[in-house]
Subunit: 305 residues, 2 copies
């Protein structure tokens, strides 16, 4: 032991990995070819922070596979699915139909998704929140505030979470005996630009409230409302989703559905490592709680910074 200390001996991890067939490395893939990653959105960075923390806590290392990757980038697919490099993979925001999904499924390398997958749900480990219920709570909040023409700007509908939030929106309206007006639903993406464009488009149908699929989208809505001369919350109530930092920087402060983004990342990493180490059997599907955070953008009670 003292020799190890004095000589500063570093075990050769490649040699160890060769015989144990474990690299003690996991990967985090965010295979989006939209610029939602890192651009105007702290959702993915927060996710990553959670993963990073939990991964190092368990003495694993975290490989990052991010950036704008072409769907058919064979080189990337080959490398990311190399089970000799990584013991497992976390995949976030995977768009339905992405080839990575099929690759991983018949590769046998354990992987955990963040967000509910749209296919093979009974075979996939994932961690997410109850987006349907959360979408319902958000919409119900707007209803309870007396709003009559409640619009929704969705996220990318090839992502389970976006579908579920839309589902929740519809469910809340139906439970309140309200009609579902297709004119008040804008199919967007998880970006500020989509929120901005969505609001400009919806304006002709005179909504008095908008449930935005994410805080980033809501920021775009706020800007569009400002340009349209609509006062928030008097003329237009706006509710977001995520409760990332922009919700606390906006004017007015954003009412939103808080989801524990950092914890999602951390849980995914812990789950994956448990799976790798054989400590867990069967398909694991973790649903984390959400919470309605009331601030200024819907009227009602105002909670400070």
């Amino acid at each position: 032991m003292s020799v190890i200390e004095v000589e500063n001996f570093q075990p050769n991890l490649a040699a160890r990995a060769l015989v144990t067939r474990r690299s003690e490395i996991i990967g985090a893939a965010i295979p989006t070819n939209e610029n939602i990653f890192f651009a105007d959105n702290s959702y993915h960075p927060m996710l990553l922070a959670g993963m990073s923390e939990a991964t190092h806590e368990r003495d694993y290392a975290l490989l990052l596979w991010a950036g704008e990757v072409a769907f058919d980038d064979k080189r990337w697919l080959r490398k990311i699915s190399n089970k000799h490099l990584m013991d497992g993979l976390i995949v976030a925001s995977l768009v339905d139909g992405h080839p990575l999904f099929a690759y991983l499924l018949n590769l046998g390398m354990p992987f955990v998704m963040i967000d509910r997958p749209l296919r093979d749900q009974d075979r996939i480990h994932y961690v997410t929140v109850d987006n349907v219920q959360a979408g319902e709570v958000a919409t119900q909040h707007l209803i309870s505030l007396g709003r009559q023409r409640i619009a929704h700007i969705s996220g990318h509908l090839d992502i389970g979470d976006a579908q579920d939030r839309l589902k929740g929106y519809k469910a809340a309206l139906q439970k309140a005996g309200r009609p579902i007006d297709p004119d008040l639903i804008y199919e967007g993406k998880f970006s500020r630009v989509a929120g901005y464009e969505g609001m400009l488009h919806l304006a002709q149908h005179k909504p008095d409230a908008v449930f935005a699929a994410s805080d980033t989208v809501a920021i775009g809505v706020l800007r569009a409302a400002h340009e349209l001369g609509l006062h928030v919350p008097d003329d237009l109530a706006v509710i977001g989703f995520d409760d990332i930092d922009v919700a606390l920087q906006s004017n007015p402060l954003l009412t939103t559905i808080r989801q524990p983004v950092r914890e999602k990342g951390a849980k995914a990493a812990e789950l994956l490592i448990d799976l790798i180490e054989g400590r867990l059997q069967g398909i694991q599907q973790i649903i984390l709680p959400t919470e309605l955070v009331i601030r200024q953008s819907c009227g009602g009670i105002s909670v400070g910074v």
Copy 2:
């Protein structure tokens, strides 16, 4: 070749690494124990995006070492300095005096710093911008606008970039024959909270302009000014640094010094890989250009979104 294709053969990278003594993995360390990482600041995510892109372009993989790490976390230090795991390391925002610095220096593993190091400058590869000159340009801009009491809220002065921006601020004042008033200099950190507190503190000395060490800091200044009833830019001109996305979300839009953050990350990765592969000899120090971006927060010409 056809057999490889049919059998979907994956070479065992651990075995390869064992004999070649190359893992084709590089690390990215952001060893900050402040919460500037990922919290309200897209600087580091952007940096990471640049690194990630360049790394995969060169067919390497990127290990992420981020999060709030205790200075004396031996486990972390041991793992991050394991040269069998990584061929090299990029270190961003390393605070002066951090033990990682000494570790790396006598380890022999190639590493590239982002930001100018405060010690052993002639032995360290790094990539940064000319912060002195940029700080001078920012301050000079405020002077040319007729501002009389120009304050500066610095970043963490244990980081070279923060020191250099302060240096540039002082240089501009001196060249203009202005006195340097210590009351108008607030030693802060690269965070929104520091900007907010700095501005509240500086208010007693009645500045009519603030050069903030980063856009994030400037956002904090903007909020404090709002609370103090100061109108930006009429009562107070504010200039930031970075030109990250918050500069385009603020109200008023932020005048700032743009630095190519993504390119910094990308260049660092490319440089490191060139170093690893022996394609480059001698100490490499890359200075990228900056640019004054004039928007609304200093008055003068206003450029739209």
